[in-house]
Point group: C2
Chain length 421, copies 2
């Protein structure tokens, strides 16, 4: 019998394209990977984590609490600290959008993205995504048989004129009732580095409000704030939770993986109560709660101040690494364009239109031969029947490699680019 | 707009019935909960976990590795140790079924159960389950719109005659192509305490082989071995992986939550390669890997011997607690029947047929008024259109409460039973 007997979801689910890149990097240790979205390795909070575990496990009572099952929503203390932190970043006076009761702790923010998509979307539904967007989220959509429509990005986020045009188009073709949510990576976006302005969030929510009346059900704005804490230039931007009167339509996903202990994978979501209830039930089936021990780790690190101190160092580290990458790119890529991010882990470089960057392109092969990897831009575009995927961009990460390797990697990539003639 | 805009899955997903029981127990601290499936609190390996973290985080190199992202399949060392452990328990000489390459580390074995069900089952499909079965798995089925057929249990596991009759019935009614798997909690079953004999596993696989030819696709045996390590009487039974020639049809789910660090929630699955590939892709979307830090914790605890030493103590602890519960039940429940488990965390008590035990029964209310909670047996039966749910059983856990509370809890329950007249 040759059949494996898979479900429709099982048949649709693809290996993430990045996994091939990761395997290639691991198999060839002399390859410099500007592809992986790893965090800085040297600065991982080894001493801070040991200190926190010594506090937690140094006393029997707190040790046992940390080693027992927790609740499905997660540790109360960390939920309160997390809700309060988002509220403080938003400089919010209203409290309703920042209630710990509406916060669920997850295994990375990734799990939150997965569960809320399960909660809201059926196969054949449509999700509005940014062009480009986070490719693992695009994988979730693909896996669930959910369609996507891409909304181009401007330097301050979503192109609202285009968003309205897309919504109007789906209204006219009768598929508006299938539109469930707009997914936005709003801070130092993965992959483009773009930060969405607060007015853009307001404008997007206004448009969704107008069209959800015609759709007959809520259309949510899912704000993926994974990189928010990795700000190294400029001021923080308030989240969509701070848009007056729209908190019932905003789902906010955050994480401690990027700003603190990557290998602890503690993330969270703040959700409107009816969605929160359903996602919590789904989480009951997924795992009935993420590891309690790691939630105690984060709560302890935040309360002791270790988290804030570590984050300040980390921002400095990424500021330096971004500068190194920028300086190297100026030398190596004279004919490309890029946006200077104000935080996060990524540069997004746009090559001349004639120069393809895809996995099968001459450039990618030349880069690989020159022992450097990048993420081809086309992997970051949803399958949208309306437009072809742009294929002359690259995501370049300064997260995981050392400053020296960033310099060498960009040099190698510049050589590959130069060889394209 | 009153609609929440949920998906079909979102609408189907119910709060687990146990959550109401847990909340009741938490809200009334003087309630003794024989309902919760918690592990023994006093014996949680606080010192062992601190010792392991000190080793891991005491050196920068291993500390950073543990705090960085891992791979989606999980830490290689722990995968090897886990595969070798199952192989050693099975006293297996053949190696193919125990390859670390086919092992995926998860957030508890629960996540493995969720993902493999996603990988194999569509809404409308049918899963064969034990009568009674693990209620959170029944929740997964309900959530995904998957039907269930219950197979009665005998003292040594599945009633194979009944299994054949059910398969024959679905063949005749044309729904055999919708049967995807048989789910069995094979060691010290949750909730019945029953251990499935090796011959039963062989027999079940033989029947599945016969019927899968008529179904046109594989029908897998999912062996949930969550309680295997908590053996305190008798010999271990080989897993279904050891049945010759059938390893391509066996999915084995294990966990370290029960035998070691509950709050670390490290579980795993050993899967036939084609299913493993798909589950790995699904996991890429769920969370692209469970927390690396906790996988390092388990690998270190196993390699140092702390795991084995702790497990020996834990088995003693549960042996004592089971004895305490048994002695108390002999005094308090003269008219009930129960099976003495040889491991795990549960007794399953059968009341006289006329005595209902459900959440709305007089007995449950009397027990709650007497400050003791149990899991009503009916919650452990799938929605099977063929038979009514038995409603005169109770799951009684000796896992979480102290010996003193077990005694008092059973006394209180005996009083409630006595008051039924």
């Amino acid at each position: 019998m040759k059949s494996v007997g898979l479900s429709a979801l099982g048949r649709r689910t693809m290996a993430p394209p990045i996994s091939w890149l990761m395997e290639t990097a691991l198999a060839q240790p002399d390859v410099i990977s500007l592809a992986a979205g790893f965090t800085d390795h040297e600065s991982l909070p080894v001493a801070e984590a040991l200190e926190a575990f010594s506090r937690i496990l140094g006393a029997k009572k707190s040790g046992r609490a940390a080693l027992q099952y927790g609740t499905t929503a997660g540790n109360v203390k960390l939920r309160q600290l997390s809700a309060a932190r988002v509220r403080s970043l938003d400089r919010a006076t209203r409290e309703e959008a920042y209630s710990a009761a509406n916060l669920i702790l997850t295994s990375g923010s990734q799990q939150m993205l997965y569960m809320l998509t399960e909660a809201l979307c059926d196969p054949g539904d449509i999700v509005l995504v940014e062009d480009p967007s986070y490719f693992v989220y695009l994988g979730i959509l693909q896996s669930h048989g959910i369609g996507a429509r891409g909304i181009p990005m401007q330097p301050d986020g979503l192109d609202l004129v285009h968003l309205e045009a897309v919504l109007e188009r789906v209204r006219k073709d009768g598929s508006l009732p299938r539109v469930k949510l707009l997914y936005s990576v709003s801070y130092y976006q993965n992959p483009s580095g773009i930060t969405t302005g607060f007015e853009k969030k307001q404008g997007a929510l206004d448009l969704l409000r107008y069209y959800e009346r015609k759709a007959g059900h809520p259309i949510y704005l899912v704000e993926d704030a994974a990189y928010r804490e990795l700000r190294f230039e400029g001021a923080d931007v308030k989240s969509a939770l701070a848009v007056p009167g729209r908190t019932s339509r905003v789902i906010y996903a955050g994480t401690y993986s990027k700003p603190f202990a990557t290998g602890a994978r503690v993330g969270f979501g703040l959700l409107p109560q009816p969605v929160r209830d359903v996602v919590l039930r789904i989480k009951g089936n997924h795992d009935f709660g993420s590891p309690s021990l790691l939630q105690h780790l984060l709560a302890t690190a935040i309360e002791s101040g270790a988290y804030t101190r570590h984050l300040a160092q980390l921002r400095e580290c990424y500021r330096r690494k971004a500068k190194v990458m920028l300086a190297s790119m100026r030398e190596a890529f004279p004919s490309s364009e890029w946006l200077l991010p104000r935080g996060g882990l990524y540069f997004w470089a746009r090559l001349p239109q004639k120069l393809a960057s895809g996995m099968k392109s001459k450039l990618f092969q030349a880069a690989l031969a020159n022992r450097v990897l990048y993420v081809p831009g086309e992997l970051c575009y949803a399958n949208d029947p309306i437009r072809p995927k742009p294929n002359h961009e690259m995501r370049l990460s300064f997260g995981g490699e050392t400053e020296k390797n960033i310099r060498h990697g960009i040099e190698r990539l510049g050589e590959a680019l130069g060889s394209m003639g």
